[in-house]
Symmetry: C2
Subunit: 221 residues, 2 copies
DNA sequence: TTCGTCATGTAATGGGTTACATGATTAC
DNA sequence: GTAATCATGTAACCCATTACATGACGAA
């Protein structure tokens, strides 16, 4: 009855925080912006939206006034339902953003969490990145152990598969290392541009994490 | 009622083809040998085993005679149920092995299929590898297109996530390229060691695929 | 006029996990 | 004696997909 997905809920709230949208568009964003990792179907999305409305996190709005005169025939196409984040929804999302349990760095969640790092405070970002890294290192240790145990009994293909899998994990660890270092560099950056400083950038606009070049003007249509 | 998992069924049949096992051990193998990608719980495994028995692919056997005298007290531990592949099961698995639809190269299936390449005929291996590769290239094209469309609207983190995701896919494509070339080299290898040839190596022992990349004493710590 | 895309939804189904129940054996 | 591991199983639940139902609009 309740359809509390966790990950889908999180992503929907996060996307709607940037700007109101209707379901169809929301799904597209879900499967492009964030969707390298996960693809959701309408069968999941629409029920999810309903429960979010029931929770009070979202409100449904009729189609916004179109500037295009052709579409003025009372809601172009089938009457869109635009979903907007409520104040309570915003608060709820902010709370979700601040959580740093294992739920934040397991495979299914990490990607989506990362996608909203722009809205996440720096210390939470650090905890999530480090959590993910240690999770992966744990996994590497297990893989190495199991490989050492069974090395001789495996055929070439199984071995190659294992090797490639381990390399993938190692690669992600290196990636995380760079990101973490980058975050640290950003944090310790107080010598120059001191006027940019702010005690907590949780709700503020997305600031670049150090090495990444600053963006001129980001505009979310 | 039926619990036809596809992927789990496949893996179970494949592991039992190598040697009979009881459920507990089977699960461990599932989560080490093949399990970098997927971890199954007893809640899936045992019901699956039951239906496989009902299908006639497996038979339950009482614990095998233990050579260890201490365990001779009528089935060491709780009476193990050893599962053995029947002739029909073997036939069925062979048929599954020969299938090369999209089911073979999608994310969820490819790893397990690859793990049993040792039992797979060369032409099927080729089709699966090439299928996977074109699937990934398709995905890359989509990612690049979507990136080109939305490049400016994305914040640094989302961009970085996307970039890393694409790199991962590109890396797998390169891996597949090497494997495919290796397979081809193996196929065209008729100048030397001609007595090793066999028209179909489907059911035969695992032959190394020519220039198998994995080096013996390769240890990347 | 038919196809592709936009747009919203529901019911049935699938494939899996978690938590629980049970109990023997081994190692400390 | 008690904790860990071995060993098998079930029921309740979860999250998501697929297939379906409906329908409007724009372009070929």
């Amino acid at each position: 009855m309740s359809r509390r997905s966790g990950i889908l809920e999180f992503a929907v709230l996060g996307l709607l925080r940037e700007s109101p949208m209707h379901g169809y568009e929301l799904r597209k964003r879900l499967n492009t912006s964030l969707g390298v990792f996960r693809a959701f179907s309408y069968g999941s999305l629409y029920p999810c939206l309903k429960t979010l409305v029931q929770q009070g996190w979202l409100i449904e709005e009729p189609a916004p006034p179109q500037e295009d005169p052709r579409a003025a025939t009372l809601a172009g196409r089938r009457a869109k339902i635009v979903y907007r984040l409520t104040a309570e929804g915003k608060e709820h999302f902010e709370e979700l953003l601040s959580q740093t349990g294992p739920d934040a760095w397991e495979d299914e969640h990490f990607g989506v969490r990362f996608a909203f790092f722009g809205q996440t405070s720096r210390d939470v970002r650090m905890r999530v990145l480090e959590g993910r890294r240690s999770r992966l290192e744990e996994r590497l240790a297990k893989m190495r152990a199991s490989l050492a145990r069974t090395r001789e009994r495996l055929d070439d293909y199984t071995l190659e598969l294992q090797r490639h899998g381990m390399e993938s994990v190692e690669r992600e660890v290196r990636w995380l290392n760079e990101l973490i270092e980058s975050e640290r560099a950003g944090r310790d950056q107080r010598a120059d541009a001191p006027d940019e400083r702010q005690s907590e950038d949780t709700g503020g606009g997305p600031r670049h994490p150090g090495t990444t070049p600053p963006d001129p003007s980001d505009d979310t249509t």
